[in-house]
Assembly symmetry: C2
Homo-oligomer: 393 residues x 2
């Protein structure tokens, strides 16, 4: 582990690479490998809940169901979604080529793809690129950054994070800038750890970490066909972590990566934390926060630095009573610390709200219990419209 | 009935007016009256399903529950929502003043308001305006157009429609340009008819007509606190209509008004009809169509004249199987008549799709049954962002 210690190579036992295979229209790195070289192996994955599922997701799920992953190959420049049986065979060929290059079985390789839906991947470029990526594998920071760079689509920066525990560490990389919505945010993420885990422990920690982080990130309400979060454990630290401590560290790293996704969301000028407090239970708090986080009207108002609490309250009221019991006449709404709506009526003057900072904090108090949840989103801007109307992606 | 026959005065027995009471920041008509002068009276209303409900909605519901409306007073320039008990008293005072001016009981007057949430209405302007509107009542087209003009907020044009049946007719006016979503679209609408109805017949016809028209209009996914559709019957034709024929005529007029709302949606450059066919039942078809109609990514693509079917398919896949059973591998998607996605894979070349017309037609075939439904929406544009970020509304 180097002094810098970024991304997926920060934990011991991992190598990575990012190369240019020629998949992207405008060039740049587009193919990444992450490989577990450690003494042990455990793995887990969480995937999109979309019923339209890209070929690499179906393949990687089947590999995880039957065994343990030792490597993940990721490409930008094409999602390999809605590509039918030919696309399924392309994903198989991708795993097989990576396995051959790494001395593994195809079932030990996960595959992740991101880019335009409905186009075949150019295997004549992709397969030689895998050989090139295998030859470029290194265990240093540069390799981790090259891998994080290679999975970018409209992301303006690579996203990495590292957390350390008692004798073990976790590293991660992620991509995602649009089509970010729960279950999951539209995103790819690979997490690595040198902690000693088994597959079951890896799965339970990953599910819990994702639940309150990536699954509460909702940039534009649009759920992808390709979302994948994969955790690989090398066991190279020789240390079996306390499960609660490991889960908390994993949650922390997922939260930091999710936060980076929102900060880089297409066209965003404000990151918005929508916190709902005083809810009857956490699910109710999350449902209300998610509704507010999906309001185009409120998100456009935030772009205009307008603390338009009426648009917040209108959205809160759309959540059915059976999902979130509360008395609308008790609703309080604060924006950046100023309670602009008190008991469903006018509170402090909206002129007191300072909207100039990048981060905007909305707090809705339902006065119906003790539970709370936060959903992160961003404002709706001319930049978002431009990026999603001027280009296919 | 004049030769022109527009709007709420087209049926016999109705008078209307629209005046400037001074409620709107930038001036113009802002107060409307519609009055039933016919030999009989029946009425019905359908309102927002939002749990945060504006004071005039609560008041009008209570009047309809206890009796029959003879008049509706409508204002733009303020929603009277989230205004607490003072706002409730303002709505009561509005109905009482209109009743006094018209020789009615307050319980015979419905109240509708539209504008910014969270501000009291200036009653010192509103109440004299009601007297002015009562004095201006006429039964001609000019009066119907003045009333339709007075309820505009960001609407660029007044919206009216007329339908005729066997000896009877229906007229209507509506407003709404943003915060348009189901249950209802954010909108006010008054419908008048000279057909002989009772309250129960009016209610059943109105509910059925709204269900497949205004409730399938979804401009921006944002549900208002003030949505109201009110039907008044004067019985002045002396003709009791066939219920099915009347419901169909009412549905037709609601469809035409809903279509006008979408055509005038904030910033829109394309009207989009999302039709889902081959569904197991109508509710499934509607749920899938609504999901597609709410995709910011797809709606931004349409703004860019990009027939991005991948974004359609990704959204179709977010609908749970228990809501809409279908096999994703059987999905077909056509845009403007070109089947760009066949069996979840690439179909005809997207270059064949002509996106230059204002109207865009998306057809999703689930191949899971015979039912179908259409939801109307519009594209997501720089104009929408501008209107909703540069001004509070």
């Amino acid at each position: 582990m180097t002094a810098l210690a970024v991304g997926v190579t920060a934990p011991r036992g991992f190598a990575a690479s990012g190369v240019e295979a020629g998949l992207k229209q405008h060039g740049g790195r587009d193919l990444a490998l992450v490989v577990n070289r450690g003494p042990r192996a455990a793995s887990a994955g969480v995937f999109t809940s979309n019923r339209v599922v890209a070929a690499p997701v179906t393949l990687t799920r089947s590999h995880l169901a039957a065994g343990t992953l030792r490597a993940v190959v990721l490409n930008s420049g094409g999602a390999n979604a809605c590509t039918g049986r030919p696309g399924a065979r392309d994903a198989q060929a991708t795993a097989a080529r990576a396995a051959a290059a790494l001395g593994l079985e195809p079932g030990q390789v996960g595959v992740c793809s991101t880019g335009l839906i409905g186009q075949r991947l150019p295997l004549d470029l992709l397969l030689p690129g895998i050989d090139q990526a295998a030859a470029a594998l290194e265990e240093d920071d540069e390799a981790a950054l090259a891998a994080a760079d290679a999975i970018r689509t409209t992301d303006t920066v690579p996203k990495t994070a590292v957390a350390t525990g008692d004798g073990w560490s976790i590293g991660g990389m992620a991509k995602g800038a649009g089509m970010l919505a729960p279950g999951l945010a539209t995103m790819l993420c690979v997490l690595t750890t040198d902690a000693v885990l088994d597959d079951a422990g890896a799965a339970s920690a990953l599910e819990e970490a994702v639940r309150t982080t990536f699954n509460r990130t909702d940039s534009d309400g649009c759920m992808s066909t390709n979302d994948s979060v994969i955790l690989l454990s090398s066991g190279a630290s020789g240390t079996a972590p306390d499960p609660a401590a490991f889960t908390e560290a994993l949650r922390e790293i997922c939260a930091r990566l999710a936060r980076q996704l929102i900060a880089d969301a297409e066209g965003a000028t404000h990151d918005i934390a929508v916190t709902v407090a005083g809810a009857s239970d956490e699910a109710a708090a999350e449902a209300v926060a998610r509704a507010v986080a999906r309001s185009n009207l409120f998100k456009a108002a935030v772009f205009g630095n307008d603390p338009n609490w009426g648009r917040v309250v209108a959205e809160v009221g759309t959540v059915p009573a059976e999902v979130a019991p509360f008395d609308p006449s008790q609703l309080d709404v604060s924006i950046n610390g100023v309670m602009v709506c008190r008991q469903e009526g006018v509170g402090e003057p909206r002129e007191r709200v300072d909207m100039t900072a990048r981060e905007v904090r909305v707090l809705v108090d339902l006065h119906a219990g003790e539970a709370r949840a936060t959903v992160w989103t961003n404002d709706l801007t001319h930049g978002y419209i431009h990026e999603n109307s001027a280009y296919s992606s």
